[in-house]
Amino acid sequence: MKYLCLVYLDRENWSACPDPVCADYAQKLVDRQVLLAGEALHPVDSATTVRVRNGQAQLYDGPFAETKELLAGFYLVEARDLNEAIRIASGIPPGEYGSIEVRPVRQLELGDATS
């Protein structure tokens, strides 16, 4: 059984939790062999939403999902840049019925301690 744990934060608390704390916990989960994939995301300003209608990909600035749309799945993909990520996202089948939010994953900033 796989579970996806989604982290929700409001803007004020976006940076409240220090990155090294997150990294430590992730490492514990890796050691226990229970973490399949986990990433931190850039703020919502960096999001692009893709909808496919009549075979045409429509792009929107920001997270555009309507509030009645609920998270139904996720793909963690490797892409060269946003255009390639959008091409991949445009092919995700439920994009024809709902919307796919494309968010860049960011590196945790761990400072000098680990370098």
Partner: protein, 411 residues
Amino acid sequence: MTPGDRVQEVYRRENRRVFATLVRLLGDFDLAEDALQSAFLAASERWPQQGVPRNPVAWLVSAGRFRAIDSLRRQRRMTPWSEAAEAAAGIADEASVYEELEDVEDDRLRLIFTCCHPSLSEEAAIAMTLREICGLSTEAIARGFLIAPTTLAQRIVRAKSKIRDARIPYEVPDRDALPARLGRVLRVIYLVFNEGHSAAQGADLMRPDLTAEAIRLARLLADLIPDPEVRGLLALLLLQDSRRRARTTASGDLVPLEAQDRTLWDRAAIAEGVSLVRQALGVHGFGSYALQAAIAAVHAEAPSSEATDWAEIVGLYDALLHREPSPVIALNRAVAVAMRDGPEAGLALIEPLLTPELLGGYHLAHAAKAELLRRAGHCDAAKSAYEASLGLARQDPEKRFLRARLAEISD
């Protein structure tokens, strides 16, 4: 011309070109802006002594890149963090700038498509276009759009972060993606033009001339991409702008098309616009901009409002409406039908457009209805339609125009 003057002149003419290439070489807008300023500083020191180089753009790109690498290396000495060092190594490893200068024209396109990327909001794309492609200052753009400079500066900072964080690539879209991406660029240029066009002329001399910037952008794009819609947009802007001097009186009052002094129209702009329309309509793939330009061309070539080929204009609106069903186009078509077949025919077409979902809240729809009612001799109905329009209008010159019409009717 002294070498110092030459630096000024090259800055004025070429600084955006140098910037566009530096963005590609350095991979970052802010780094490129700093490098651009250092390069011109170096030019103002060196050129008076060593003479102006044979290829000033190549010299400036090379100097800017060298200074960027140098400052990244200095950062490397100060911080153990290796990102700056990697950036410096990456930049230094690339092939010689001189070889890559063949790409300079493409860099200008890359800059345009990046600033107008559809994952940036329309507002952000407009701000980035005027700041990065046209080189307007943040303060000037803020004045142009009547918003606080801090709001605009923040919009630009966010857009740049998004370009960096989401990794929006610095590239010209491939053939499949080009039509949709080009559509976004054209829309951004058109919005910039409209903002300048609808602004009260001369009300604030410090406001930048956004219509001129939009025309410059459209011209640049037409030089770089041989596409009928790009030509169509340039033609449309030239033809609309050709009426600039006739659109308002000295005191800033609006003059409707039928009452304009056509000798004030800019004949050179019209000739260029008409020729571009012909080219655009002559090839496969033209769209709504070319059709709108064709309508503007029919007006521009008519000796008077009565002598306008209204049947031709209705036909062009039919084609436009078929391509892009929109209530505003339907409204314009209705007005043209009224000119061809009489006011009652136009009124019959306008009435169904005035629902709340369509144009019920649009002041120009009520003004058009009022105008046709007045021509048909229904003064009372015309009066209430003018009043409805006045209640919805927001710009002072339009309000003054509507009040004047109301006063005329009430006499």
